[in-house]
């Protein structure tokens, strides 16, 4: 079996897998990174979203062979050590999840959006997040969590009296 070198969450990994194995299954079954979820297998639900060189990509529809030498970030690699990504914190603060299954993919799509838009509009959110389905219907909280994460990141002052970021 061929061996492929990819960088996952900053670590170089050598994968001995069939050339057509989708990145999703290499992450889940070979590397044990089960935070990336299987939902449809045809890039329609977004549950398997990861970052490839900073772009949100459906890992079910990208082969391991296609991402050799590239940098993959999964939900497990989004936090900086003990420091949660602002989106992860916002997801907890806003109690976004119901079943929670799609949320890793939602957060990864949102993180790619925040990386290019400091202060995304509702329309930016619609465009970036339309590929991520949530069966429980948590869309409104997803939207507000993205807005609050953007605010959290750019906030320079925390007003303890009003509990507001200014």
């Amino acid at each position: 079996m061929p061996a492929y070198k990819i960088t996952v969450n900053g670590e170089v990994k050598t994968l001995e897998v069939e050339p057509d194995m989708p990145l999703l299954w290499a992450l889940r079954d070979v590397l044990g990174l089960v935070g990336t979820k299987f939902g449809c297998g045809i890039a329609q639900c977004g549950a398997c979203t990861v970052h490839v060189n900073g772009n949100a990509v459906r890992s079910c529809s990208v082969r391991v062979a296609d991402v050799v030498g590239q940098s993959i970030i999964t939900i497990e690699g989004l936090a900086q050590g003990q420091q949660l990504h602002v989106l992860q914190q916002a997801w907890i603060d806003e109690d976004v999840a119901q079943c929670g299954y799609c949320q890793a993919g939602q957060i990864m799509s949102a993180a790619a959006l925040l990386a290019r838009e400091d202060n995304p509009t509702d329309e930016d959110i619609d465009n970036a997040m339309a590929g991520n389905y949530c069966r429980c219907g948590t869309y409104n909280r997803i939207r507000s969590a993205i807005h609050s994460a953007a605010k959290m990141r750019t906030a320079t002052f925390y007003n303890a009296a009003t509990e507001e970021l200014v």
Partner: protein
């Protein structure tokens, strides 16, 4: 004080080596449940650091010397928020600070935890008092410990904020008292007092879900995330025509494919709830199994398989429009007299709704490890189950594999959605059978196509309705011919039309009858079974009648509710017209009912009572000339009694509205020649974030006991939107999904 801490430490270490076995301390009459102070037998989660040296006050509550309060959540979590809500009830009663609480999923053990299932929005009402008893019992043991340690009377102690405080201000924390508390007498159930609602500090607040950190960081949590040493991966191919049997398959070829460990035919027992015939492929990864399946060729014997046809059902039902069913539900007053009266206005209509799929985001899966012993009596089985009823794993193991309960270990796993799907267990039986065959732990994962082709669907159906309003515009007669489905001679889940269906109890003349069509397509409960379709029919048709009478639907509906009464006093499953009127008025007020709307826009109101929840919704929509629909806002008023977790409850309502809209918009399962014709997201469309309406939720926290909220907010959505479309356009929606009538969103 330091002496005390030392003695507590000593007791903790003593306790550590002397973990008690089964010590049933007191029975709770009536519920069949026992407050058992016993050590956890199976740890469902690995991170048990804080449990070292901990003290169990009862099966649900442990306190560590560091002050961590571990509360076991005993019921399955599928997104309904029970893993957070039930521990909140315990924490409230015991006087804990929520920040000190850590929640772990309990083991599966009905003796210790009582019935462990979730479904029918029953968990909160069923367990509310049980959780309160667990909390109150722990609280009183802590109070006794405080009394002993401080040498003061129990009456002089207050238990709150994770500490026991004397009237002088002197206090000891729960952590300090942990070891002493377990030595206290477990209080008699009858002596337990519950906190008054006005004293609540946790119940009714907004608490973020206890698994949110794990969810947001991608830690293994769901059934499908299970990984055990030496685990293999499997898929299972069943006949596309439901119930077909394997004649032969190219398994020798499949076995040679890369990554395939084994492939074999499983002989089923023809029961879709247990094990249907199929071909299992076991590989070194899910992909190896899925990929090999592309080369699988199976010859099926479809002689006993489903031949169901949706178009055939539509044809038969359409012919029955305007007739009555053979099975009478109720004949009250004289509807015919009302129809015959020329002063009355009489309408007839035919409504249709399709089969739909549960379509959970986490496909069906199960990890099973069947270990063969020296003989069958030494066999053992370990299961990782994402299911609404984990104890059913024991029943399957017994009935299908001959294993006794003590040979089986079950881990209750979080579900990535269920909506009623995971009350069935065939994916569990499949995983066990496959693991037994290969004698290795196996994770069975269904593809999305498996999931859509082999669901226990929400039954489709038809209702032929008729009704009259008198010359004053009052509802005078209502009639419904319900057409549902029979499977194996019995109505499927949701195919019901009870004689208490609204507005039968409220109207003078009513007639209801039923017809059933035999099908072989498995059906099952789907979020608010029966209610989710009948609400659409009845609330849309009553809106039709109100328009025919030239009445405002708000006023018309309130008039039908009539005087404030509870049809069956004391039965929360019975409609209370007072509670109904209150939520209807509140939703209307908050939505601005009666305000003038621009052309092409409209408001639609609907009410439905199900699962003990009284819920009214007003949809605000606009529709353009190409039937492009925008649902701007849905205003919801809910009375399910006191709310446990405000955030979770609001979330359930928001989700139900969006789920309801997603379903009515474009979802439809059809079958021809027994084959389900939808495969995946490309031909089973779902609502996405850009089309998600604003949801404005209002609670009436009445003094009735708390009831569940996983389901009842869904049924009113479809008629509210349908009625709003009528208000906006004059087009009456009598058929779902909307996409088939040219609507887009």
């Amino acid at each position: 004080m330091s002496d005390l801490i030392e003695s507590v430490k000593a007791a903790v270490s003593q306790h550590k080596v002397n973990r008690r076995g089964f010590l049933k301390l007191t029975g709770i009459a009536g519920s069949g449940f026992i407050i058992a102070s016993i050590a956890p037998l199976i740890m469902a989660e690995e991170n048990l650091g804080t449990l070292v040296g901990s003290a169990e006050l009862n099966a649900f509550v442990e306190i560590s010397s560091d002050g961590t309060i571990t509360i076991y959540s005993s019921n399955p979590e599928m997104g309904q928020g029970i893993k957070t809500a039930l521990p909140m009830i315990i924490a409230e009663e015991m006087g804990a600070k929520w920040e000190d609480v850590k929640v772990l999923q309990s083991s599966v053990d009905a003796t210790r935890f009582g019935p462990q299932q979730a479904g029918g929005s029953t968990t909160v009402p069923r367990t509310f008092d049980q959780m309160r008893r667990m909390g109150a019992s722990a609280r009183e043991m802590l109070r006794s410990a405080g009394s002993e340690a401080m040498e003061v009377s129990r009456d002089e102690l207050k238990v709150a904020e994770s500490k026991v405080t004397h009237t002088t201000g002197k206090f000891l924390t729960f952590g300090q008292l942990a070891a002493l508390a377990i030595r206290q007498k477990v209080p008699d159930e009858d002596s337990l007092m519950f906190k008054a609602r006005e004293d609540y500090t946790i119940i009714g607040t907004s608490v973020s879900g206890v698994d949110n950190m794990m969810i947001s960081t991608g830690l293994a949590l769901f059934g499908i995330d299970t990984r055990v040493p030496e685990m293999l991966y499997a898929c299972y191919q069943k006949c596309p025509a439901i119930g077909g049997k394997v004649v032969k398959a190219n398994i020798d070829e499949i076995r040679k494919l890369p990554g395939v460990v084994d492939a074999f035919v499983l002989d089923g027992n023809d029961d879709p709830r247990q094990l249907l015939d199929g071909v299992a492929i076991v590989g070194t990864s899910t992909w190896a199994a899925f990929s090999a399946r592309n080369s699988l060729e199976v010859q099926w014997d479809e002689s006993s398989a489903s031949k169901d046809s949706w178009s055939g059902l539509v044809e038969r039902a359409t012919q029955l429009h305007g007739t009555r069913g053979k099975e009478l539900v109720i004949d009250k007053g004289d509807v015919k007299e009302a129809y015959a009266n020329p002063e009355n206005t009489t309408l007839e209509a035919f409504y249709e709704y399709p089969f739909v799929s549960h379509f959970t985001m986490e496909p069906m899966n199960c990890t099973a490890h069947y270990r063969k012993g020296s003989d069958a009596s030494n066999d053992s089985l370990e299961l990782w189950l994402p299911t609404q009823g984990p104890a059913r794993g024991y029943q399957i193991a017994k009935s299908m594999f001959g294993l006794e309960e003590d040979q089986v270990t079950i881990h209750m796993m979080r579900m990535g959605g269920s909506f009623g799907r995971r009350v069935y267990f065939e994916y569990i039986a499949e995983a066990i059978a496959i693991s037994k065959q290969v004698n290795k732990p196996v994770k069975l994962t269904w593809s999305r196509e498996d999931d859509l082709h082999h669901d226990f669907y929400r039954s489709g159906g038809f209702q032929s309705v008729k009704g009259s309003v008198d010359k004053q515009g009052r509802l005078i007669a209502f009639e419904d011919h319900f057409m549902g489905m029979n499977y194996d001679g019995r109505p499927v889940s949701g195919s019901r039309f009870p004689d208490t269906e609204f507005p039968i109890l409220n109207v003078k003349n009513a007639h209801a009858s039923k017809t059933f069509f035999d099908i072989k397509t498995p059906c099952g409960p789907w979020r608010a079974p029966g209610s989710n379709t009948t609400a659409f029919v009845v609330q849309s048709f009553l809106d039709e009648l109100s328009h025919a009478a030239g009445r405002d639907y708000l006023e018309f509906l309130l008039e039908i509710m009539g005087e404030r009464r509870w049809f069956e006093e004391g039965n929360v499953r019975s409609l209370n017209t007072g509670r109904a009127a209150d939520v209807i008025k509140l939703a209307a007020k908050e939505a601005g009912w009666g305000k003038s709307m621009p052309k092409g826009s409209g408001l639609g109101l609907a009410f439905y009572f199900s699962h003990a929840g009284h819920i009214a919704e007003v949809a605000e929509v606009s529709v353009d000339k190409n039937r492009h629909l925008t649902v701007h806002k849905v205003t919801v008023a809910v009375d399910v009694g006191p709310i446990i977790n405000m955030s979770g409850a609001t979330s359930q309502v928001e989700g139900a509205v969006i789920d309801g809209l997603s379903t009515m918009m474009a979802q439809k399962i059809t079958m021809e020649a027994g084959r389900i014709q939808q495969d995946n997201f490309h031909n089973y469309e779902v609502l996405r974030i850009p089309d998600s309406p604003r949801v404005d939720v209002h609670f009436i926290q009445s003094d009735f006991g708390p009831t569940g909220l996983g389901e009842p907010a869904l049924p009113p959505l479809a008629p509210a939107v349908g009625n709003a479309i009528f208000a906006a356009t004059g087009h009456r929606v009598r058929k779902m999904p909307l996409s088939e009538q040219g609507y887009t969103i």
